[in-house]
Symmetry: C2
Subunit: 107 residues, 2 copies
DNA sequence: GACGTATATTAGTTTACTCTAATATTATTA
DNA sequence: TAATAATATTAGAGTAAACTAATATACGTC
């Protein structure tokens, strides 16, 4: 009941941020190391790291270590579909130009 | 690109709040007047009204006036599915007890 | 073990949200 | 048109989120 709602709200909140959404769209179905995400999102390393750790807390992301690099990826691929669906419903023009490209969430 | 992301983030943010999520789950597929939502959510009239107007701004809700009552409902029913999907992915136990009831998002 | 690279953490400031309480608006009825 | 009911708006205080800059940790190499 209320627990479910609070839980769902928390996950949604974790996704409901431009930078975090950009991270998720950049990741899509692949795994990327932090540095790559820093480059692609254009914000600071510290900032990205904080967003990543927040999403890891919420079980949205999982990590894999390789030497001194840490690779992040989206735990459940359904999340990607869910974001796409959200775009289709509420940001239609964007969704169209997006599904047109096919493979990636980002041009 | 970034516009799409900002737009999606904004909609998500509008949903990512316990009270607003509760409103959405209470509404589900029916339309309800403000007073009913006040009763069912257990917060103040002012508070509900502010949350409702926020979600109306974002095109999540639409309204219909009947005398001095205003009925709210979810514009796109897909949103309900989307919230359910989110629950299934991230709040599994809750999702199970929810789909078991069948008709409504709330017990 | 010193150094370099990749990532994480902390502290502090600024900005944005959220709630409450009071007031305003709109419509209905007497 | 006064009074009431339903809903909306505003203002202000408290709280949380977000960013930046500086520092810390972990790993690998020399």
């Amino acid at each position: 009941m209320n627990d479910e709602i609070d839980c769902t709200a928390e996950v949604l909140k974790a996704i409901a941020h431009p930078t975090r959404l950009k991270i998720l769209c950049t990741l899509n179905l692949q795994e990327l190391q932090v540095g790559t995400l820093v480059d692609k999102t254009g914000t600071t390393q510290s900032n990205i790291s904080q967003h990543l750790s927040l999403m890891k807390e919420c079980k949205i992301l999982i990590t894999r270590r390789e030497a001194n690099r840490i690779y992040y990826r989206i735990r459940d691929p359904k999340l990607v579909e869910l974001i796409l669906l959200m775009r289709e419903i509420y940001c239609k023009k964007a969704a169209l130009s997006c599904t047109a490209t096919g493979s990636s969430l980002l041009p």
